[in-house]
Symmetry: C2
Subunit: 368 residues, 2 copies
């Protein structure tokens, strides 16, 4: 194999597929990037068996071939090369030579036959959405998936297509995050649970450009994202997702309208008194048009008041401050509406169109 | 005590003295910042017994007093307060109240009497130098002090004043770094060894401004730096420093003049093949006007050639690539001169005026 690239094009391609290279694995072939120039274009592929990424890189094929190269070393070498033409050559023993100007690296490659190609899936059902919107929706929901594997379904996000609406839901047992967006067209209904890791990695690759589209294809066990000259293929999480709709009630006793930045800043100050693993609630005491916030820990006490617009009953309610912070940080509105029933029932942060709904469960606290 | 500050002035002062707060200590009073407003100005002090920093902060004294406050929590709280007036009040039980707009923190302070003030030293012998120059000289030499405490003297840097010249020297047994600068005036001769930690921390506080001066005062056991409204006091390292002068020979067999960036880039590429703790040398093979560099490791082999200007004999010599990189990174000249004798003798990277001298010992290698 003999290939020639512009350095920045090659590096860009490597950085894209690198997202699917596992950091720890016992199978050394999974740590490799496959360069496949066996036909007319040059494709880079990485595949950790859950998530696979393939991208086409501009370059010249002087002699066709395929090779697998250890991803980390390959990316470091290319990154440090001069901004110039990079040549990659292999011999029959899978020795790889990477040259650029007067620099010449020789490293050992691996037989491309060892590499697992991405499975093929039918490209029938799909939807189209802007890269910007998908990237935003992931950012605005991904924080409330559960870590560990208490329940596998909680480690992913539910993607639902209903005619011309895409809804993304995540939950971890203490809170629920929902974002909805209208699509330009209507599509067949879909309901799949995508691993959180896939969504995290794809949101790093998406350009965040409102003019560029990404296509999502739905297979029985996989989802495929296609954009620019890249495809990302991921396994789905099997099982039936939680029935979220029945937890979302429209009834409330108290509606509080508050300046988002003031509210967020206050809570962020209060958590300075909370060391990790120390679960101290922030207590909201809403009386008339004044919200008093209190947090007391081993380290000290904090009190702050802000003016709000309240309808309905006064209320005193405690929350894990981190959960409020996570939700408020990803809401772009200047003022937010918070709906509450009583000190035992979840609160809802949502806009009138319900383009976002954040449900947070309250916590018990001592009424001192 | 009752004080009032502008938030940014207070935060700036905290950030300065924070450099002398130890990250780990068994004496909790050392983790505190002392606020002393017992006379007419407000001073913040931190002191880890080796290094102490004191700075004056603008503010109003509504009621005189002193208090010690846990540094980390204090700095985090002030950082998160609105950009507005900050009030600090204490009661007779050392309870501290920090208020700003509607935010109100209550934390426990410590008795100021527990705090160790900085020792007083005579301010007789001193020199004056620009903050920029001192900051640069530290950056350009600090990397070649020894870590651990193999030899305590190696963990510091030698500061020598000889009439109107300041010279800073560091060494770790494998290399020596020397920087010299001319001062505006002549001073009494001085020769002190300053702990590396002191110099690292002070270079973070110095403004890097060429117009601003820093004064250095020399005591028998301490050095004191005074600048802006801040003083930094540090213990000296006792003992007689190494006789460096006798290791610096002017004789050479080979002089190589090379473009610094090309040379540095090549070595930085070569070390991609070296994993930590794997001590692979880079081998320089200088023949006529061509420098060939080779590095071979478990991971592969790298070869690169660059054109140089050579006077004297051809030579083949091996180095720890990290040592060359460290020195080349802090030299601002476009081309550097490297002087060598043979493959067993140290090389010198120096300019004609010897404003810098970097000595690096070679390493053995297999002539394959």
């Amino acid at each position: 194999m003999k290939l020639s690239f512009n350095k920045s094009a090659l590096l860009n391609g490597i950085n894209i597929v690198l997202k699917a290279v596992p950091s720890k694995t016992t199978m050394s072939i999974l740590e490799c990037i496959l360069i496949d120039a066996s036909i007319d274009e040059i494709k880079l592929t990485a595949n950790d068996m859950e998530l696979g990424i393939e991208t086409v890189v501009e370059g010249s094929i002087l002699e066709r071939g395929r090779i697998a190269i250890e991803a980390k070393l390959f990316s470091e070498i290319v990154r440090k090369l001069p901004d110039s033409e990079v040549r990659i050559e292999t011999d029959a023993d899978n020795n790889v030579s990477i040259t650029c100007e007067k620099a010449d690296f020789k490293i050992a490659g691996k037989d491309a036959d060892e590499f697992s190609y991405l499975p093929m899936i039918d490209r029938d059902d799909h939807i189209s959405i802007s890269q910007f919107t998908l990237k935003e929706m992931i950012r605005q929901t991904i924080f409330s998936i559960a870590a560990g594997d208490v329940n596998k379904l909680m480690t992913g996000e539910l993607l639902e297509v209903t005619e011309n609406e895409l809804k993304i839901t995540s939950l971890d047992g203490h809170r629920i995050s929902i974002r909805k967006v209208l699509l330009k067209d209507s599509y067949a209904n879909q309901k799949v649970v995508v691993p959180g890791k896939t969504l995290t990695e794809i949101s790093k690759i998406l350009s965040g450009d409102t003019d560029k589209e990404v296509l999502l294809y739905f297979g029985p066990n996989h989802i495929l994202f296609e954009f620019d000259r890249t495809i990302v293929l991921s396994r789905l999480i099997e099982g039936e997702y939680f029935r979220v709709q029945q937890m979302l009630s429209g009834d409330y006793e108290t509606k509080m309208q508050v300046n988002k930045k003031d509210f967020l800043d206050s809570i962020e100050r209060a958590v300075l008194l909370v060391r990790e693993n120390d679960k101290k609630p922030i207590i909201l005491n809403l009386q008339d048009q004044t919200l008093e916030m209190n947090l007391t820990s081993m380290m000290g006490a904090m009190k702050e008041e802000i003016l709000v617009n309240k309808q309905g009953k006064d209320i005193m309610i405690g929350f894990n401050p981190k959960f409020l912070i996570d939700a408020l940080r990803v809401i772009d509105d200047e003022t937010v509406n918070i709906y509450m029933v009583n000190s035992k029932a979840p609160c809802f942060i949502r806009d009138d169109e319900e383009s976002y709904i954040y449900l947070v469960l309250p916590v018990n606290f001592n009424r001192a």
